[in-house]
Amino acid sequence: MNNLLTLPVMIPLGFSLLALLWPRRASSIGILGLLATLLASAWLAWRVAGSGPMLLALGGWEPGLGIALHADALSSTLLLMSSVVALAAGTYSTGYFRERSDRARFWPLWLLLMTALHALFLSGDLFNLYVTLELIGLSAVALAALGGKRKAVEAALRYLILGLLGSLLFLAGVALIYAGYGTLDLMQLRNMLAPEPVAWIALTLMISGLLLKSALFPLHFWLPPAHANAPAPVSAVLSALVVKAALYLLLRFWLDIFDDVVTTFAAWLLGSLGAMAVLWGSWKALRAVRLKLLAAYSTVAQLGYLFLFFPLLAALPVGAARDTALGALILMALTHGFAKSALFLATGVIQQKAGHDRIEELGGAARALPVTVFTLALAGVALIGLPPSGTFQAKWQLFSAAIATGQWLWIPVIATGSLLAAAYVFRILGYAFASAEGVKYRIADGREELPALILAILATVLLGFGSIWVWEFVTPGALAVGEVP
């Protein structure tokens, strides 16, 4: 019996109830819950690495009638990442939210968001996925609106409405699938789906819903305001995890469930949109006035890179080369997750200590907040894709795949994107290193600065020198829903 599969979902849910019931202990309950979640996720990943994908038929009903939970290399990897990021950002939040009542508001929602993300990563049922998407959407919106600043609330409301539209598009696809194939279970569908109108239209609806949620250019317009106005720890998770959740589903559908349905043309479409996202996002990030806005736009760009993989994966024959590219895609997603959350947390520190996050007025930051500026630099290295960082190995494979498949078109895009990234990262550092007298910074304490630093180190050192582990762990059974004994 694989009830272990329920823990990464149910632990945060249970602790969110506890945090709701004991608001005065919310922070300690929350941290405890996230630690437990991390342990559970690690255990799950360990089991998957050891004995392959896992399956749990909830309620003991055969999948189809009941709902099944799946864990394979891809889902457990993302599970692990989200647990780590959530723990780090959560720890930071205890310093970010000074008011006890703010923490009491924050923690239950935060844990609900984790519940939602993990439920999505593990779910094996189309309609259940819709519910998890809605849970992600609502808890994320509620978190983004915390603090109740007008801009934040406005962004959150638009974010909510667009999120709902995305979910509805997804749900429409689900309805069509159920009408045509009479089941909602991914495992069964994967063997039933055929390239025919019903599947095409249903997939198109679901994919467009997910694209809206993963903010692929030109559907990105909602992301910068929402991510730039939310409280720092929330922005971190929005950028690092929430968009990744939609992307995860995209991958799962594209490469696994709907493998026979998708077309090369569609892959090229996604790739081109990704290319535009890289250029546009990087450019806007370079022009950004505020640090948080820069970070948000760089997310738009970084997501673009991930979509560049789709046409490449479509062109590569199934085999070692394709697995390598897939591993690179996942490695890039992981590195970006860690680096971007580190960037947002560091931004939060600067914003609170300097009282603003206007890039051109960061003078003296390097002297006042050396650790945080160092974190910015490390995260920046990972975002640019310079060694040592997981992104470097990932981009290497991206270039290589583009060359191998003769899709030269992407090479200048990646190169330009990287140079623009370098430009905006060193723009920050340039101002931060500039010596400015009379600038006042408040002292930051460890629980504010360290989480970001740790995340940045994970992105650069761990994933930079340990990148092979990602390939070894992920690629063999990356997409193995339904290949469970």
């Binding site: 019996m1 009830n3 329920t6 149910m10 849910l13 249970g14 969110s16 109830l17 709701l20 019931l21 608001p23 005065r24 919310a26 749990l56 038929a57 909830l58 309620g59 003991g60 009903w61 189809g64 009638l65 009941g66 709902i67 006890r100 009542s101 923490r103 009491a104 508001r105 239950p108 929602l109 609900l112 519940t115 939602a116 439920a119 259940n128 519910v131 809605e134 849970l135 609502l138 808890s139 919106v141 509620a142 609106a145 915390l146 109740g148 609330v153 429409a172 069509l176 159920y178 009408a179 045509g180 194939y181 009479g182 089941t183 109108p197 019903v198 239209i201 249903a202 198109t204 609806l205």
Partner: protein, 317 residues
């Protein structure tokens, strides 16, 4: 297949529904839009009944039309700057959006028709009815909701909780209504207990007949709405700590029941043989209260007085 009177009625209902929706959405007068939307909801619940979905008819009437309507009407009090602008783009663009809309609808319809015509089997119905005995209840919908797909329902309660917490986090409740006239006052005092009784009945009957936690919870929430209209202040709600427990109750019951099974070396949410009926009733009762309170607080529009003191009060409690 022959065209029967039913089909004419169906087409009539469908056209009526579309008309209502269109006029609810296209007008710039929001009050009118909201009222039309409530009418739309009622018509929809009629259609649910026609399509032999009585559980949905109840839920739609209580939640879809009733509570959403109440919330929307209340929301009309908050003026929007953007409202006064006629929210329509210039005609050419407008035409384009209409065409796109039709294209979307057409492609959906195309897929739908092919799907329904090609797949005339019972889909999951057979499985569901086949396992109804083991499910512990005789109302198939309840069986799906609380047994076959209980996990959906669990997460759905989490969605409701997330929304409620979000609302509570946004600020304090709306100002309560001033005491109404005698007539409404009397009405409230008569109706709300009635709603409570009906809710209890719906919950109980949900096991074998249409009804269940959601409909019942919605009715309880309706009772709160009535009382609120009758000038109830949030002091008259249960104590804040009790509110917390009520909100958490539904999910908590679900999780406990779910893990209870795992001790018997069963799968999560797999009810031990013979316990299903009882467990489902317990879960539903807790869920009903959670739903009722959540929706009630949503109607209050914010955290009730004293909600935040929970976190800053001294060691006691």
């Amino acid at each position: 297949m022959e065209i029967t009177l039913w089909h004419l009625l169906d087409s009539l209902l469908a056209i009526l529904l579309l008309g209502l929706a269109w006029s609810a959405l296209s007008g710039t007068d929001l009050k009118r839009g909201v009222v039309l939307f409530m009418a739309f909801g009622l018509l929809l619940s009629l259609i649910w009944a026609r399509l032999r979905a009585p559980d949905l008819a109840l839920a739609e009437a209580a939640i879809g039309a009733g509570l959403s309507g109440a919330l929307l009407l209340l929301a009309l009090r908050d003026r929007e700057k953007s409202e006064n602008k006629a929210g329509q783009p210039m005609s050419l663009l407008r035409l384009a959006t209409v065409l796109l809309m039709l294209l979307l609808a057409a492609s959906f319809a195309l897929a739908y028709v092919t799907a329904v015509t090609s797949n005339t089997g019972g889909r999951l119905a057979g499985l569901a009815f086949g396992n109804l005995e083991q499910s512990g209840v005789s109302n198939p919908v309840t069986a799906v909701l609380l047994n076959f797909r209980a996990y959906d329902t669990l997460l759905e309660l989490a969605v409701l909780l997330a929304a409620t917490l979000g609302i509570l986090a946004l600020g304090s409740e709306r100002r309560p209504f001033r005491r109404p006239g005698v007539l409404l006052g009397a009405l409230v005092t008569w109706i709300s207990p009635l709603l409570v009784i009906v809710a209890g009945y719906l919950l109980w009957t949900g096991a074998h007949a249409p009804g269940g936690a959601f409909q019942a919870g919605a009715l309880l929430a309706a009772a709160i709405v009535m009382l609120r209209l009758g000038g109830m202040t949030s002091e008259q709600l249960p104590h804040q700590l009790l509110q917390g427990w009520l909100l958490a109750g539904g999910i908590a019951a679900f999780m406990l029941a779910g893990y209870l099974a795992t001790f018997h070396d069963l799968a999560f949410l797999q009810y031990p043989a013979g316990w299903a009926g009882l467990l489902i009733l317990l879960i539903e009762s807790a869920a009903m209260l959670s739903i009722a309170l959540s929706l009630g607080l949503a109607y209050l529009g914010g955290s009730p007085s004293g909600w935040d003191e929970r976190s800053s009060r001294g060691k006691r409690s």
